[in-house]
Symmetry: C2
Subunit: 108 residues, 2 copies
């Protein structure tokens, strides 16, 4: 399991506009190989959001970033004037995963 | 969907010890109401880890933090001498969730 998080700082008074951009955006993630889940997360801290995506592994994420689906998904819904500063991406490999059905250590 | 992330900065040379503490830790999350998934995530950035948990909603997370299971889970495996600085928790409400089965907007 591999997780990519893109962190956004939204300017004061722009939260609704930011959220609506995402609500109206086509993600083009349907059927992307190795895609598990996407979520737009709103932090308790004012103006902080994360575009959070879960992948089977790092290769699936990297293949998506090099795909036409990625280009199409990022071409729409400009966030100019809505953000403070540039978004920044951080990526993570799961060492342990535990769900209702059990625990996996060193999941790839 | 509600997400809680506890961020850890691990001291140089202590990553293996940190990971092993988690591998040997009982999470006591089995059967906790509203628990969806736990993962220990290792960032690409050296020494950065996230204890990442997903919950049905904020109430489920808050009920867990007030439970005996939480106390038992946090009593074991001291991280003294392994971390640089204190861990910090951030929490998030999902605004949009999309999986292979479709998309939910304003998921609670």
């Amino acid at each position: 399991m591999f997780v990519a998080m893109n962190h956004f700082n939204v300017a004061e008074g722009k939260a609704e506009e930011f959220e609506n951009t995402w609500r109206n955006r086509e993600t083009y993630l349907d059927g992307v190989p190795g895609f598990v889940e996407f979520a737009l997360l709103k932090a308790d801290a004012e103006g902080e959001y994360i575009s959070h995506s879960v992948w089977q592994d790092r290769a699936a994420f990297e293949d998506w970033t090099n795909s036409e689906a990625f280009v199409k998904g990022h071409r729409q819904g400009s966030l100019t004037g809505v953000l403070e500063g540039a978004p920044h991406v951080s990526t993570y490999q799961a060492i342990i995963v535990q769900g209702p059905d059990g625990r996996t250590v060193d999941a790839e």
